[in-house]
Symmetry: C2
């Protein structure tokens, strides 16, 4: 009756043995980890370097799977047209896997085919064996992965994402997706972006009399999230400890090397938490675990990214420092001559102060606890008999604050009094009425974490497509 043919995949013809075989098998990374000496292999990649000699051509090939390259030896007997084989060209080569006298894995080419050429004469901005500044490279966002430094950065970034997920899962903390579009301004700092359909026809068809254009689509004004904390608290009040790892937005006119308009934040809310100390300890445990994981599995990319090595990670062997806000302020006041602007209890610390403190304390990540109430948001839990709140910042070498968090006010009356009058936050009280629990949590700036461990000067070089004022390329 029906004119269709049921053709399960396994009956289709196949050119190469791709079927049901993991893509990874064909990468340079796999080749170098598990070389089967003497066997045939096909490698697809880009030419990193090419050296033409009398009897042989030596081609270093990379394919993005690792910072390492594999050398392909092309005998002149193969009569390869070498004219278009230049650095940056994409090629397919097949040959046998051999070991060089020095012990390196190499490929003795039997066939080599150009996929697509690459030439600086036609505008390719990166010449082989030349170093470029990050600012220069950043002009070519769509070509950045062609540079070794940035490809390494992205591989470390990938491993860090997985290492954070895995560390949370080991602790029984559950991943949730909190909303990007929200009708709340969690931080209340007026740094939100608003969101409206870019379609006059749609807006017209949905319009209602008396409704402002900003409110047509969602029936209320909608913003990009500045923090997922309230949503995390709601979810923790039923699911237990939760975390989210997603994009966060700030409409701030800052072009500093520490700020992005779109950045990634890991936000965590721990359920049934009544003290600050287990939270600080969790942060320390998490950062050490993830960083050790990266050193164990990605050291070649870490070295290739910024040239740093294991000796930069002495802090992993030490306990993080804990200082009260007042103690930190004292240190800064004793070193007043170092700063353009003095620190004070009214305004807290600026970036200059934060970076100084960590350096002063031997480049060990430093928790600042016991914050004056006025420097932290309304929802922070009050210390007993004190004008302080149970909040903390974690300052990291070269970067300053990378984590901020604390315990949440769990006294219903106190919270009700402190709730901002503007904004519709009754729901934030509501889940506390029905079997409410004490929670605490934090937000960790993912790019700042990468900045501190990899010693990257500008945060714009830690994310594939950075967005900041006047810049939303591609």
């Amino acid at each position: 009756m029906a004119l269709y043919i049921h053709r399960p995949l396994s009956f289709l013809n196949y050119k190469i043995g791709f079927l049901n075989i993991c893509f990874k098998k064909y990468s340079i990374c796999s080749l170098l980890r598990n070389p089967e000496l003497g066997s045939e292999i096909e490698i697809k990649g880009w030419i990193a370097n090419i050296r033409k000699q009398k009897h042989n051509i030596f081609i270093d090939v990379k394919d993005g799977s690792t910072s390492e390259q594999v050398q392909v030896i092309v005998s002149s007997d193969l009569n390869v047209n070498t004219k278009e084989l230049s650095a940056g060209s994409s090629i397919i080569t097949s040959g046998s896997i051999v070991k060089s006298p020095k012990g390196n894995i190499e490929i003795l080419a039997k066939k080599i085919k150009l996929i697509s050429k690459c030439s600086t004469e036609e505008g390719y901005p990166f010449a082989p064996r030349k170093e470029y500044s990050p600012e220069y490279i950043r002009q070519y966002l769509h070509l950045r992965t062609k540079t070794n430094h940035f490809a390494s950065l992205l591989r470390v970034r990938n491993s860090a994402v997985l290492a954070f997920h895995s560390a949370f899962q080991d602790e029984g903390v559950i991943n949730v997706h909190t909303p990007i579009l929200t009708s709340n301004d969690c931080e209340g700092a007026g740094e939100t972006f608003k969101v409206i359909p870019d379609n006059e026809h749609l807006l017209k068809s949905m319009a209602k009399s008396g409704v402002h254009v900003d409110e047509i689509f969602f029936n209320k004004k909608s913003y990009l999230t500045v923090s997922a904390q309230f949503h995390l608290e709601a979810l923790a009040n039923g699911l237990g400890s939760v975390y989210t790892f997603g994009p966060t937005f700030r409409a701030e006119n800052s072009k500093s090397r520490f700020h992005l308009a779109e950045f990634y934040m890991i936000e965590v809310e721990i359920a049934f938490l009544e003290e600050l100390k287990p939270l600080l300890n969790f942060v320390e445990r998490l950062l050490k675990k993830v960083t050790n994981n990266l050193l164990d599995n990605n050291i070649s990319d870490i070295v290739s990214c910024q040239g740093i090595n294991r000796t930069e990670f002495e802090w992993l062997e030490k306990d993080f420092v804990i200082l009260s806000f007042d103690e930190a302020l004292n240190i800064l006041n004793c070193n007043a001559s170092q700063f353009k602007k003095l620190a004070n209890a009214q305004n807290g610390f600026n970036k200059e102060h934060e970076i100084f403190l960590v350096k002063y304390l031997g480049n060990i990540p430093t928790f600042i606890i016991d914050w004056p109430r006025h420097l932290k948001p309304f929802y922070m839990k009050e210390c007993k008999n004190d004008s302080k709140v149970l909040a903390f910042d974690l300052l990291a070498p070269d970067v300053g604050e990378i984590v901020g968090g604390g315990l949440r006010e769990d006294d219903f009356q106190k919270l009700e009094e402190k709730l901002p009058k503007e904004g519709v936050l009754e729901w934030y009280l509501d889940f506390r009425k029905f079997g409410g629990i004490s929670t605490g949590g934090f937000g960790l700036g993912f790019e700042r974490y990468l900045q501190t461990i990899l010693k990257i000067d500008n945060i714009k070089d830690t994310i594939p497509f950075p967005r900041w004022p006047h810049n939303c390329s591609l």
Copy 2:
């Protein structure tokens, strides 16, 4: 000199043995997996059920870490005030771990303390042992995790996130964060949201004469991403195969049970790919691997979420079906009486057609390949000697399309001709000039995947905070 005290965490006093101990140790999930019979334990959670008998009170406690509950036996000798202990209340209880005659792990309470009560009289919307419709529960987004169904859904969702990540890493596909804010409308369907700072003062301070308000902050109009594909292609042209797993947005006035304004998409771009078949095979391998992983590790949550069990997953043992567009159209035309609206080559298939096709083919996920060129975007690679393109959709039971993808046009001239004149897409051509490679990829709707495997009727019940027209709560 300095007035600070270096106090490493390990010297701080500690109330309970929390220090350097994984949070997971204290969960009901851990207790039930590794019970140390006879030893003491402290459990924090919510009362699921309470039965008061003459000599004992039996309390089922849940804490969000698993769909299972643990029974706490409170002897009347303990003189517990049971008045405020009702379903939904949060409690701390400590006691010894025992095994019931039936073999269940239970706690013989020594102490029990109410954290916070919960009562339907004060407005708690969920009575114990009562079933509510998803529509009813959806009215209380901030309380949804207090229901067993939705807590199970979120635990499955968590596991699915991790299973996808792990499946990609096993294949050597690298995770990247593509931008949420972009100056491109990748799909060109006019379903974008535009993004503007919600701060008059900021906009005023950044304003330049002649610049429209939409363009002040980023110097150009900026949108929420509708697809990361172009960015993935750029990254793949240096890093190799890549994927992204993040929020995606569509400003579409649809309240259907298959659409959200904010949803999660897994988008993948495989490098050095010259045929469609390995891509279809990868999709099949991926979905089977992730789903088997969920069945192995989350079966109790899968059952608790929607009451379905392993027998619903027969498709895991079968090869996915592959049909050409024309074959699929033929089937639909042979069954024309089934549809409100006939399918045709001009407009392609609608949801009704998609769901019928999968059912007709025995509820096995079905690839539709060889699409007419006009039904797919400009960047799809053309079949040789044909008006078709090398694109595919994957249709899943009950839901229809969950994956869409194909090979990208790698003929530079052809692509240049087809490039839309509006929109600034030179960069999309540019990375193909310099060692360009053939790639192919797809986008997988994460919520639709959850919908199909868990048989959830409405997509709004697969995500913690659903957003759709007229709805952006919390």
